[in-house]
Subunit: 162 residues, 2 copies
DNA sequence: TAAAAAGATGTTATGTTATAACATTAGCCT
DNA sequence: AGGCTAATGTTATAACATAACATCTTTTTA
């Protein structure tokens, strides 16, 4: 059991690779699960993966309109609900926004590090902390269904620049 | 360093005591800090402390109207902003709602256990977990400004009843 | 293969949460 | 009195999200 490794936001990383991995993994998972990654859902997922910044539902709506002029809020929210239910994206509660999930289909307890400066969100799965949390919940006799652990602050890259 | 003790929601607890403690502590803290716990702010704080359930801004608005017919959304949100800035309440990000803070003026990293059944929110300060989190943040070289750790599930009391 | 069921999307309307912007008031300091 | 700051009043609107019902498409099954 170790501390999780830094995954983002590295300004030099190959983002096309992130996107490609996310989309192909999503496609495989949906096939394996017998659920449909329809064109709308795929487009929304792709838009979310355009960057590592959390993106708002109405931003997605604006950005999908060139492709789908008839898109309405429900169009987006339904796609988001699906993607969340499949663990392909996360909702960032403290921002009312959404980010792509880097570990779809696995684990699903994550720490989100949200940079106030660059808006990028880093997802981590810090095992030691999560074990301690599990223990705390056990001691409280609280049965957890979902967990939101969201830290706002300044990421290393932005701190270095300043 | 130990696991934090259960504080709530205990159906048999003396809630008048909670309220009294919260309000007198708030008054003292504000005096000490040279900030004003005005009538509006006091009323909002009192309304929030009516229970251990998270309460929505517009619920507060409805409930304050008998006392203050002219109350508007801004009336409430400004009071909430003040109370949050003084650490007297917490915003529950995942509910868009607010709860009274049990440890005003102290610490301020807290775990919120949110019961889906009774809606009550328990605030804990689990030292082991928070140390592990601090270590994780350090390893990520992320400078935290604020932390939201919110767990949704079923509390002991509701689990026992079922 | 036709009918039924389930899943996805279209469409309209509305509900909910939150803030901006500017005016007014109250208390305090000089 | 004049000027400052903090708080509140007031109007309007922005931002976020869902309900409800219609339609279409795919799969199931009688």
């Amino acid at each position: 059991m170790t501390l999780s490794q830094t995954q983002h936001p590295d300004p030099a990383h190959d983002h096309d690779h992130c996107v490609h991995t996310a989309l192909t993994t999503a496609a495989h998972l949906c096939t394996a699960r017998g659920v449909q990654l329809t064109p709308i859902r795929h487009q929304v997922l792709e838009l979310i993966w355009e960057s590592h910044k959390a993106v708002k539902a109405y931003e997605l709506l604006d950005r999908i309109k060139p492709l789908k002029a008839a898109a309405k809020p429900a169009t987006i929210y339904r796609a988001l609900d699906f993607l969340i239910s499949q663990g392909l994206i996360h909702r960032v509660e403290s921002l009312n926004a959404f980010i792509g999930c880097r570990c779809s289909g696995r684990s699903h307890e994550q720490l989100l590090l949200i940079c106030k400066h660059c808006q990028q969100v880093e997802e981590r799965t810090p095992e030691i902390m999560l074990k301690a949390l599990a223990k705390e919940l056990q001691s409280a006799q609280f049965v957890a269904h979902s967990k939101a652990i969201e830290i706002h602050g300044i990421c290393k890259q932005c701190a270095d620049k300043a």
